[in-house]
């Protein structure tokens, strides 16, 4: 193996795993989109194309482009690299080759997937232009930021400004047909110029790069020049004091999250620009326009950074273990970090955009008119989940970049596990006839069904269902993150996998239990439906032709069986039951329009054509003590009617 190939292998190894993940996701999108007939079932849940494709194009590809240089900062190896007896131009060339070699196949996959997903229109070209421009500028911006994520933020932010201006100008010029054709040429030339300038700038910066900073060589987002100046302005409050340990810890957190404040400021300007330039319109019924989608992606990045930055940076600087030797419990330090991260994530990723949109709506006279139809609590829940998962990831691995990169496969794994648990639950429930029979044999099936139905109906509401899924996972994740914060992080892959197993197993178990529970309840309910329908048909046969109201009949299961054959299950359910039937007069002929769901249920019943049905009311008293009230509402003119029933 030659020296050249060894060095190229090292460069490739640095970005291999992120590249593999990004490329595989792109490939899955292409396969999914090129096979429209085939439904992926559970995978649709973990691969939502309207999220994965924009995140891939606008976040993953620029991140991939920033990694070859960014990882040198992350691992503190840049000074070592530059100290080697190799011409810097050769090093630069190698970096550029690896960057384009990695980005190109992945970008082609995403462009192709986008082409399959939507028609080739403005959004398609914008996505392509974004990938080209951010890749070209990645090296220069990473060298300025001296970190991967800083480089990604600056590269994306800079092009975003160009992007917004271009959108505004092109919208104006499109109105004039004389300029429309020239616009395409102009855009192409401007984009090429922008990319060429940044590649040249990156090369120049790399050739003249000076390893001067004392802490250089570590991923140090908070050392960005812009972030340095931000809180330095005056805030005396943020300076540590000799007294007040907790306040000092809060101040420290504020400093650690400087990049988040900076990005939030940028996000604020972006949302204001979107509203001012009319790129977000009130009562938008169409899918989210792309520029707004990008702003949402930025909010996602903010939420992730809010979770990962604090502990990630501490581990980079090696202040983490030193902090744990201070006379303050690790759990108190963990609590402050976690709560501060959550509050920051929610405030910066959700409250800021909402405030801009609602203010604009309020100026227009309808505060909520600029929000889409997603309930606001979903926004908050998404930010909380993203921040919490990123925080957990920062406890598992060392460093901010690793934590942020690890968040994506972790979220994917969580989604996949949830889908798997659901699938397993439905699969097992579908083959659990024996369990239904056991319940019917051992307990009073009407009573069990009544209790389970009420509980299941409540649980089906998202405000109940989501906490039921998330709460055990969250509890376990928090305990685990506290334990991991105390421990010295072990960076081996096996350790990471071992950490992933408990939350994934918990989620799998929860989703399995819930889906099994719902399907089991549904199965029991449909058995009850069948039993009552058979009972109804038998009663109908017995009372057919009678019109004398208020006539009581006391029936047993044998009477019903003689009138109409009953299944074994019905006979079992109604064993030793007493059925009191009252034939209804005129009041039973008026169809009831009101039922007390979920305590009462209704089924439309059709008899055989030409048959005249008789309205009645029946009370079934089972031997085990439960009671079902059946009401059959029918006009008596034809075979149709409505059977309502309530069991308790």
């Amino acid at each position: 193996m030659t020296a050249q190939s060894i060095q190229l292998r090292k460069e490739a190894r640095q970005i291999f795993w992120p590249w593999l993940v990004v490329t595989l996701v792109g490939l899955m999108c292409v396969i999914r989109l090129s096979n429209n007939q085939y439904s992926w079932g559970p995978l649709d849940f973990v691969l939502p194309l309207d999220l994965v494709l924009p995140v891939g194009c606008f976040l993953a590809i620029p991140l991939l482009a920033a990694l070859p240089l960014g990882s040198e900062f992350q691992h503190g190896t840049l000074s070592m690299l530059l100290a080697q007896p190799v011409d810097r131009r050769a090093l630069w060339l190698r970096k550029i080759l690896i960057t384009f070699g990695a980005v190109l196949p992945a970008a082609i996959l995403y462009v192709f997937a986008w082409h399959l997903w939507q028609e080739v229109g403005r959004d398609f070209w914008m996505a392509a232009a974004w990938m080209v421009a951010t890749t070209a500028g990645a090296a220069a911006w990473t060298l300025i930021a001296r970190s991967t994520i800083g480089g990604l933020a600056l590269s994306s932010g800079a092009f975003w400004i160009v992007f917004i201006v271009w959108l505004y100008v092109s919208d104006r010029l499109h109105e004039n047909p004389n300029y429309s054709a020239a616009l395409h040429w102009m855009t192409g030339i401007l984009l090429s110029g922008y990319c060429a300038a940044l590649v040249w700038l990156g090369r120049r910066m790399f050739l003249h790069f000076q390893v001067a900073d004392g802490v250089l060589g570590r991923e140090a987002l908070t050392l960005l020049p812009a972030t340095r100046s931000l809180p330095q302005i005056s805030w005396d409050w943020l300076r540590s004091r000799p007294h007040g340990a907790i306040l000092n810890l809060l101040r420290r957190e504020f400093h650690l999250l400087r990049i988040v404040w900076l990005l939030s400021l940028f996000s604020l300007f972006i949302w204001i620009a979107l509203v001012l330039f009319g790129l977000v319109r009130p009562n938008e019924m169409e899918p989210t326009p792309l520029p707004a989608g990008l702003a949402v992606v930025l909010s996602l990045v903010i939420a992730l950074l809010a979770g990962a930055l604090s502990l990630g940076e501490e581990k980079n600087w090696r202040t983490h273990s030193w902090q744990l030797t201070l006379p303050l419990s690790a759990s108190a330090q963990w609590f402050i970090k976690f709560v501060f991260a959550l509050c920051t994530g929610v405030f910066c990723a959700v409250v800021i955009p909402l405030a801009v949109l609602m203010t604009r709506g309020w100026i227009a006279g309808a505060p909520f008119s600029y929000l889409d139809h997603t309930p606001i609590w979903i926004w908050f829940a998404e930010a909380l989940v993203a921040t919490s998962v990123a925080f957990w990831c920062s406890c598992v691995v060392k460093g901010t970049v690793r934590a942020v990169l690890f968040t994506f496969p972790m979220l994917f794994a969580l989604g996949l596990t949830y889908a798997f648990g659901n699938w397993l639950g439905y699969g097992v429930a579908r083959h659990s006839e024996w369990l239904l029979n056991t319940v019917a044999n051992k307990f009073d099936p009407f009573r069990v069904n009544h209790s389970l139905s009420i509980f299941a109906n409540q649980m089906e509401d998202p405000p109940w269902f989501l906490p039921a899924i998330i709460a055990p996972l969250l509890a376990l994740g928090l305990i685990q993150s506290l334990r991991l914060l105390r421990a010295q992080t072990d960076n081996r892959k096996l350790h990471v996998l071992r950490c992933m197993l408990p939350p994934l197993a918990t989620l799998c178990l929860t989703s399995f239990a819930l889906s099994f529970f719902f399907l089991f309840t549904h199965g029991l309910q449909s058995q009850e439906n069948d039993v009552l329908r058979e009972t109804h048909l038998a009663i109908q046969k017995l009372v057919a032709g009678r019109s004398d109201a208020r006539q009581f009949e006391r029936l047993k299961i044998d009477d019903l069986a003689r009138a109409n054959p009953l299944s074994d299950r019905t006979q079992h359910w109604l064993r030793d039951s007493t059925i009191l039937v009252t034939i209804q007069g005129a009041e039973g002929r008026a169809l009831s329009s009101r039922i007390q769901w979920p305590y009462e249920r209704a089924n439309a019943i059709s008899g055989s054509p030409g048959q005249t049905v008789c309205p009645y009311s029946a009370t079934i008293r089972t031997a085990k003590g439960s009671q079902c009230i059946l009401n059959f509402w029918a006009s008596g003119q034809n075979e149709h009617g409505l059977l309502t029933y309530a069991c308790e």
């Binding site: 900073d213 004392g214 802490v215 140090a220 908070t222 050392l223 340095r228 300076r239 540590s240 004091r241 000799p242 007294h243 007040g244 340990a245 306040l247 000092n248 420290r252 400093h255 400087r258 600087w317 090696r318 202040t319 273990s321 030193w322 744990l324 030797t325 201070l326 006379p327 303050l328 419990s329 690790a330 105390r486 421990a487 010295q488 072990d490 081996r492």
Partner: protein, 297 residues
Amino acid sequence: MNESTPAIQMENLCYSYGRAEAVNNFNLTVRPGRCYGLFGRNGAGKTTTMKCLLNLLRPKRGNVRVFGLDPAKQDVAAKKRLSYVPDQVAFYPWMTIRETFDYLASFRENWNQKTEKELLDRFRLDASQRTDALSKGQRTQVALIAAVCPETELLVLDEPTSGLDPIVRREFIETVIGAYQEGHPGSRTIFVSTHLISEFEGLIDEFTIMDAGRAVLTLESDHARERYQKIRARFSEPPPKLALEGALHVQTSGRELEIIANGAARSIEDHLRAQNPESLSTESLTLEEIFVATLKS
């Protein structure tokens, strides 16, 4: 806590990173008021032992006590009584030295500002300087001042002089450690891990030499110097081959014979005298020489 409670006690301490055993059945007792050295080569398990002491690592087996307290269960109470200087010193880069001291002081019940000022002057550090602009040695100096100023009962130092220039190193040992113990001879304990043993020669009261995670030798310094002696004998001819009991290390160089004796100096001297050497001299080993001899043997 009574007078006899050890400042540090470790019993059968075990810790491993995966399958690699870092500390194995390690025992150690440090009495209050002593300056205790933990010596060992790189990778001997010194830092792991210290991290177990500070509850930064949870031992796989064994007990650790700091003034009778279990650091895993009485974390805060134990840490209130000690201060620590890590092997790799790091500070928050946005803070100045002044802010760093204020930040650390906020966690402590006591902070000696007079000592802080004296040491800042002695090390010629500017308190308004940002910590990210400090050199490696200056960062170590700041960490040392921050560890001394709270005036805790136990000072835990992990390779405290690495990165310091020889002048500062000497000044640190004489000034910082001296100042720390001065005036409180019976109550201030120092637990220091280092491989620059010669620097601490006059300060160490007792030491343990670690190798491959195990305690190889534990002795009081004075006793060690009495026990380990270097005997030099010069003969008129190449020295005879002798079977010397209690010789830890024997080296022949021309007509000269150098023997490191482990507690049997007197009998070896007698044995050598019987061979009529031209000259015979005996001297105590330094701690560093004891360290080298122990690990080489």
